[in-house]
Symmetry: D2
Subunit: 143 residues, 4 copies
């Protein structure tokens, strides 16, 4: 979190979101990308990966969406606010469907339970981001 905070605050362009909500969301996106990548892998190592095929698939989708969201939110220069808004909304959906699938296996596989919680935290953080404001012009950028 510390690095995310420092990088957010030292960008010459102020972010299009509330700073603390943004930092939280970036952190949860990277954490969820990691946990979904790890959960897909753990699922293939279980005794019956066939029963986890949908979990693996949604894990891989969610990992990719969260990675892209985390990168997009890490950029503060002149965003397209509608694009970012839709990306964050999509990310909340990816996290929700992945969490729902992980929930079905959470009592049998601890990695699915941990991943479900990471997805839910990321979904909450995406929803808490709110609507991006139009970026201030470069001339009026801070510092």
């Amino acid at each position: 979190m510390h690095v995310i905070e420092q990088m957010t605050k030292t960008n010459p362009q102020a972010p299009a979101f509330d700073e603390s909500a943004l930092m939280r969301c970036i952190e949860e996106c990277f954490a969820c990308a990691q946990s979904c990548t790890a959960c897909a892998d753990a699922c293939t190592g279980e005794a019956d990966p066939k029963a986890l095929a949908r979990c693996i698939r949604l894990n891989l989708d969610c990992a990719d969406v969260c990675a892209t969201t985390g990168r997009m939110l890490s950029r503060q220069q002149q965003p397209d606010t509608e694009l970012i808004r839709q990306q964050v909304e999509l990310c909340a959906l990816a996290c929700r469907v992945c969490a729902e699938e992980c929930a079905k296996h959470a009592s049998m596989h601890e990695h699915c339970r941990v991943c479900m919680e990471a997805c839910r935290r990321c979904e909450v953080a995406c929803k808490a981001l709110g609507t991006p404001t139009a970026p201030r012009a470069q001339q009026t950028a801070r510092h």
Copy 2:
């Protein structure tokens, strides 16, 4: 295209989209991810990259979105159809805003013109995909 076609047809699960529209869209997503990555790089090498800062930013966003869309569409197992629908719609938007920005620089920078065209082809391919059908059950999968 040949490999995309073979991989699409040999998956044990039939795709949730019309096959030829799907193959075209996957191809355009990977091509657009490449051209946007290259355009961002070329922009930083121009005499005045400051004037291209928004183009660089949208190139990087579009490259990430197209890469994620291309990967998601390359998976055919048990998708969440609403998630895919929204990802493809988002990808069309990312391509549109990037193409619009590239268009502003297309007369001065040939890489922006080429990239604009790649974005527009990808936007068209995303829109032509249509609505995913609910995946057929595994039991009825082909072959």
Copy 3:
């Protein structure tokens, strides 16, 4: 290939590799990233994905390595030549080990056979790239 060629030629900085070898390698990296993503997915949909767990794992590794290599080679500005050299060498290795694993399943699963061939083409293209030349200074960049 056409877009890759146009983007390579319109970059203000000439590439650090022979142009036709570079374009071929970029193309094969993106194609292999696609086929490995698709093969991992197809493997999870087979009757016995447990037997394909190592194939899935190496497919996912190879897809990520090829995507990163394709992006890195798409950038022509002021590279670190030793970093690029090692990335391309690593990519050849990722493709080789993935092709070897796919080969074990190629007679049973057509997607493994197609993916094996994509990996081998990418390995060949990486090896054909040769050693990057030190980038020419920006001042002497073409056009």
Copy 4:
């Protein structure tokens, strides 16, 4: 870190590295991928991005390499140990060259200083990982 630890420990396959060194390295890879993505963006927003073109380029390369390394290390199933060893070594190199470039701008741009430190921590974590052990057979996997 907490999620990375839980995901590492709940995978049915024990990792090929010392657990605490592995968790640290995964964390630093994701943190460095974020800081490099953010530094590239911040650089394009500075008054003279032309002077930062090499920093932007190496930031983007390093972000991609760290993301791939973080994903690969998050997988514990049946790795190719030589591939992982080379990926981790490459990642240390990507972090070193990026840190060296960021260092040149650290006194003028705080984001370059923060990013340089993230790269150095990641380089150290990669070097501390050591050599992967051959994975234990699935049958002898824990739990």
